[in-house]
Symmetry: C2
Subunit: 464 residues, 2 copies
């Protein structure tokens, strides 16, 4: 077998890099759980008709076929209707979560706060920060029938905390950009532009194509007047961290004679979010009226998040409020959620050399082996240390001690333990442990010795 | 959208059950890391030609197709040769690990000890304990060129410890059944039966079809004599926890005039495993000479594991030694590993009602909300508690306190916190926390109060 080559778009990490990713996953999970979010996992597959409800993503779906499955076998296997009609890999965690809520509504307590950390798949062309297989970490709050606005304030603040907790390991600060669909929709309609989705889709391209082309598209595609197009651009240019943002939108509306209850409602909501964020996550949450989120199902707050200094990477954490996550006829389930692109974040942390692991294995100690016959004595030392929660491995072979120290050194393991035994002169020798960084070697007792807290487990650290 | 129904073979858990599964995953991961195993993840897909190297599994593979992918698009996307020839979902974690080792050999330190906890997919007919999507937790040790025998002793003992650590939450004891291919192969060849793989495949069916049919098959399919068939059955009937097993095999070989260096080597190895296990995992590891493992790539120790009292579930943790995990022409990589069927184990724990979570959400505390205006005061209490690592949520609405207590109760949250404020009489009221199980309510300070260790996080417990 020839040496295989990586598949473009399917990232995999070497052990030390995986320690970084695992730390990010453990850390965000802890924040989600501190806020009472429940962890769930859904299956990787969904019926194709569910995945294809939003036509725009249809090209991205990976369809599954059983190899050599025949019609006979399918009949024999007594497949459900959904199975017969085809299965695909999920391309996000929102569609599966909506299905999970409907399927289990009778067993869930609402409002239901869940987190979900899983891989998703999209058959897109791979680019920097854009993968075919990647990990997302989502939180959503979903209500039965109704969902109070304050959750639209809570979820971005949870994400601010989750991402903020990673600052200590070298992750750059983030800026969470927020807007409110009601503001945009109320303003556009008040201007006389009824094709709200169309305007949003064009505004969404502002960063890519610039204001002149956006204005031209609004006029050409949607029949907007120059004044209407200009007003849309002025709205999109408003941003800031305090309530003056709300005042500026109000002033702009007045200038253009826009009156809209929806706009007023949206401004109250946006103001509440800005006020709460100024207390709980100062400097992190920024109102930015150009944030459009191209998807048509958002109905209130929308969010995007940039890594400061890495804005060109695109959003690493996006989401919003949707009035109908799911509906089963009897009930509708409104929700609000955000999704961290873990793979995008981690690949940037590693690719830009921002973050590193202190070693490439869990072990804090390698116990040396004096001879094949005394391996059980080395195992006994390892067992005693592990019983107190210290990660330990025993050297693979009774090689010269220099070689065993090298084994530890190659993996970044800080300590090598030399078990008690008989010295060259036949005299008893006590247990000794060597810090291979400093060379310091001391007598030690397997029942009481422990590494410093910093050396206990691999740590994730800023580079440099 | 009508209420969706579950897909057979794709298990999903409700929140409280997921807490059980998550506990199992966290617990085995901790044991693996205490033993110095490195966590890696591989992509979910492999080139089809790699997945189909072992013909027997070909029907189980799920093949991936991009929906609406055209030849033009494929050319445009600049796909690798592997991508063009087709991708499938991995059906185990061994094939991907072998590929990972070859792909990254230059960056790995050998012997390389890794764990890997991921979903795998098989398009098989679902049955009790047999799923189409399931989670495996694997450990393997792989060497470059050589791998000392002692790792064949180590890996089942790590699994004994990982599974033993779950006893505290109500998981039944396990029995790890071990055999050695060298013993079987040496014995069969010494008897004059050269079709070793054929014999193993027939012996593997012993529990299913019984000794008479096994003997008949050995005679009919492989041309064995009655005496040879009988000797194979006698070997398969030997089992035990101490070295008398080795003596009994030696005696049986003598009876049948079997002389084999391979048999002798295998017996030394099997004896060493039994001796070490008697010290480090007494009563857990049992030599069982009928364990065959149908797969042809095992070359030394083989392992299966039963849950005591649930033997009919089949093995929940299997594996063995293989001399060639992978080979790139220049090097071969021998290895030894075991894989826990996490989904099979967890579905039995839940299905048989053996294990439960103490609550269905992470939160130890629900902070009540007195009025919409004072929600920030409730949030401030929650923030103070979370700063000390206590999982907390704030009540969703400023409903009557009875309703807020019910919100906590439905989720099994033990404490409700009533923030300081003004009482009905306008007098200041201090912070109070209520244990809703006992009804006891006491004054408390958000800066110092904490729940008992038992109440801090959801616990996983034996039922009854």
């Amino acid at each position: 077998m020839a040496r295989p080559t990586p598949l473009s778009g399917f990232p995999e990490w070497l052990p030390a890099a995986r320690i970084v990713e695992q730390h990010v996953l453990d850390s965000v999970r802890r924040t989600f759980e501190l806020h009472g979010f429940v962890g769930i996992e859904t299956r990787a597959v969904e019926p194709l008709d569910q995945l294809l409800r939003k036509g725009e993503t249809s090209k991205e779906v990976y369809v599954l076929k059983r190899l050599q499955a025949t019609e006979d076998e399918q009949a024999e296997a007594n497949l459900s209707a959904a199975d017969k009609q085809g299965l695909g890999l999920h391309f996000d965690l929102t569609v599966p979560f909506a299905r999970y809520v409907l399927e289990n509504a009778g067993h869930l307590a609402f409002p239901f706060k869940r987190y979900q950390i899983q891989k998703v798949w999209r058959g897109e062309r791979p680019q920097d920060g854009r993968f075919r297989e990647f990990v997302q970490a989502d939180i959503d709050v979903v209500g039965a029938g109704a969902l109070p606005y304050h959750f639209e304030v809570e979820v971005p603040l949870v994400m601010a905390e989750a991402l903020g907790a990673l600052r200590a390991v070298g992750v750059p600060p983030v800026r969470i950009l927020v807007n409110n669909r009601k503001v945009a929709e109320g303003f556009y309609r008040g201007l006389g532009l009824e094709a709200v989705d169309g305007v949003l889709q064009i505004i969404d391209k502002l960063d890519k194509i610039g204001p002149q082309k956006v204005a031209a598209a609004l006029v050409a595609d949607l029949g907007a007047s120059d004044e209407q197009a200009q007003a849309c651009l002025e709205l999109a240019s408003i941003s800031g961290e305090d309530l003056t943002v709300v005042d500026r939108v109000r002033a702009l509306a007045q200038t253009h004679g826009v009156e809209s209850e929806l706009l007023d409602e949206g401004l109250v909501e946006l103001g509440a979010l800005i006020e709460a964020a100024a207390v709980r996550a100062p400097g992190v949450v920024v109102a930015d009226l150009k944030i459009a989120r191209g998807l048509d199902y958002y109905t209130g707050s929308v969010y995007e998040t940039v890594l400061v200094g890495h804005e060109e990477l695109g959003s690493i954490c996006s989401g919003g409020r949707y009035d109908t996550l799911a509906s089963d006829g009897a009930n509708t389930y409104p929700g609000v959620g955000l999704s961290i692109g873990i793979s995008r974040l981690v690949s940037r942390l590693l690719g830009a050399g921002l973050v590193q692991a202190s070693r490439s294995v869990p072990s804090a100690v390698v116990v040396a082996v004096t001879s094949d016959e005394t391996r059980p004595a080395s195992e006994a030392v390892a067992t005693a240390l592990r019983a107190r929660g210290i990660p330990v491995e025993v050297a693979p072979a009774a090689a010269k001690f220099g070689k065993q120290i090298k084994y530890a050194d190659r993996r970044g393991v800080p300590f090598v333990w030399f078990p008690a035994g008989l010295g060259h002169d036949g005299e008893p020798v006590a247990h000794q442990v060597k810090d291979i960084r400093s060379g310091e070697q001391v007598e030690a007792d397997p029942a009481t010795w422990e590494p410093s807290a910093d050396d206990w487990w691999p740590r994730v650290l800023p580079v440099g």
